[in-house]
Amino acid sequence: MAGDGIWPWLFIAPLVAGISVFYFWPVLQTAFYSLTDWGVFGGWTFAGFANYVTLFADPALYLSLGNTLLYTAIVLLGIPIAVYLASLLNLPGLRFAGLYRVLFFLPYVAMPTAVAMVWRVIFNGDFGLLNHALAIVGIDGPYWISTPGAATVAVAIVGLWSSLGFSMIVLAAGLKNIPPEMYEAAELDGATRWRQFRSITVPLLTPSIFFVTIITVISSFQLFDLLYAILGSSNPVLPKSMSLVYFFYREGFVNNDKGYAAAIAMVIFLIIGIVTAIQFRLQKRWVQGD
């Protein structure tokens, strides 16, 4: 193979060295750690699949998986809302569209720990605005951030709020690719706006909807920042409301059980791998279907 001599090596060397040392090697190391047992004072022994056996019998795994799934399900509710909002945003000649884009996108770029501070107060059981609003319609709101279940719902509401703008923008970009003649033809045939939305927008937007769904699922499974910052690390509800990644963090960095944490990391890896594989499979089918 005729090459470019030494040049390409000079170009890639710093990056490939960094990726190898700080990413590639650590992945292999974590896979190995998941098969080891770490003593309290450091040092390790080979443990085979003992960590996995313990993990799959650990109620904490199912609890954190359940919380993560509940969180994901609630955040996914944002997608139909985002489809509707994107279709409004794409109306021809709509004024202030730029302003709306900025408003909806703002939460997505804001620092999670900083927005968590205001949401903690909004969710406060005694003086929070949310319970105050609920009281007006006669509902006695819970102590959101100190009640298991309610805490997950509260964090998920913030998750939905912060990801809605992103989904909306991606979907609006997808909508631009739908030829406007289709709407004109439908209008001539007397199709109502709702009918046009159902029969043109939704089917032609399916690949974009699917894309944001996958992105949302993958990022929801990474839930950590919002949970940690809204609930607070010393919150007694945390062991009941933790996410998979918090469970990993607790075992690896609070309890210092590296082998066990590595096994949790590998399980998260597996779940995300499955979601990604589903995405590849379905995407291929759509491309061929066209």
Partner: protein
């Protein structure tokens, strides 16, 4: 938005029969557009209502945070909500600097963000260019090694990254904070894609002029890659500024933390001084939010196209 509207109008004019066009294209265009808006006008009211109320709901937490940052702690914790403080407490912003090592955390945030952004742009464009436009042994294998990292959730390498940084004696230091984030598989992927799409003729011309590969990269190709470089810069700045888990793991002293982790230490005190916490959060987010508002279109399109935070 403008693009699509223009497109719709051109199309409408095209489909208008010739005799009508004879009466003068501009007025026809205007009339068609008017009919169109007229027909759809009713729905714009609904659109503005839904998007307007939705937009206000999205912005409300920020507004509420500003109001609370200017209230007294008693007003914030009042059982009947106080929607506007009796007197604006600007002093809360001054007290942020007593309550937190705010300036040193700000300095840390700025430093690590600048270092990581510059390093990623430099290393990822160099490697992305070589992977896209140069030929060498083992290219496919090395590229696969880098891109395989894109599939891996960060928890999988976090434990070992921590051990490496600990081994180098870099816990609680700037070096430890920035280190793994200097390198990015995503950035390399992004830049490789950008360079792949460029025409070969420019390179050829520069080569004939006697430029060496680095000069070709630096003077000819790099300027053409600016749109992708700005996407990389935006994603890196946002991620580095907002990131929580890594700083939480590698720092223990609040003076050594960046703002994201420093704010998290404010939670859970029995006697929370809410107005000061709100002021600190607003100050911590402000640089990135201002950057977003200034560059809005570029940030939104960049993030939406990259699909990543």
């Amino acid at each position: 938005m403008t693009d699509r509207t223009t497109f719709v109008r051109t199309r409408t004019v095209d489909s208008v029969p010739a005799p009508v066009l004879g009466r003068g294209a501009p007025s026809t265009t205007a009339r068609t557009a008017r009919t169109r808006r007229g027909r759809r006008g009713g729905s714009h009211v609904v659109a503005h209502l839904v998007l307007g109320v939705g937009g206000l709901l999205m912005a409300f937490p920020f507004v509420w945070q500003i109001i609370m940052s200017l209230s007294t702690n008693t007003e914030v914790q009042s059982v009947t909500p106080v929607f506007w403080p009796a007197e604006l407490q600007w002093d809360n912003y001054a007290r942020v600097f007593d309550r937190l090592p705010f300036l040193s955390q700000l300095q840390t945030s700025v430093t690590i963000t600048v270092i990581r952004t510059v390093a990623q742009i430099l290393l990822c464009t160099l490697a992305g260019y070589a992977f896209a436009r140069m030929r060498f042994r083992g290219r496919g294998l090395l590229l696969a090694l880098v891109l395989s990292i894109l599939m891996v959730p960060s928890q999988v390498y976090l434990l070992s990254q921590y051990q490496l940084v600990q081994g180098f004696g870099l816990l609680d230091s700037l070096g430890g904070l920035v280190l793994p984030g200097l390198f990015s598989a995503f950035g390399t992927f992004l830049m490789r894609t950008a360079f792949l799409a460029m025409p070969a003729e420019l390179e050829e011309a520069a080569r004939l002029d006697g430029a060496n590969p680095f000069q070709i990269f630096w003077k000819v190709m790099l300027p053409l890659a600016m749109p992708s470089i700005s996407v990389l810069a935006i994603t890196t700045v946002l991620w580095s500024w907002n990131e929580l888990l890594w700083p939480l793991v590698v720092t223990t002293f609040s003076e050594k933390m960046p703002l994201s982790a420093g704010l998290a230490t404010l939670i859970g005190d029995r006697t929370t001084d809410y107005p000061v916490v709100m002021a600190a959060s607003l100050l911590a987010m402000a640089p990135v939010l201002i950057l977003f508002i200034v560059l809005q279109r570029r940030v939104i399109d960049g993030l939406a196209s990259s699909g990543l935070k």
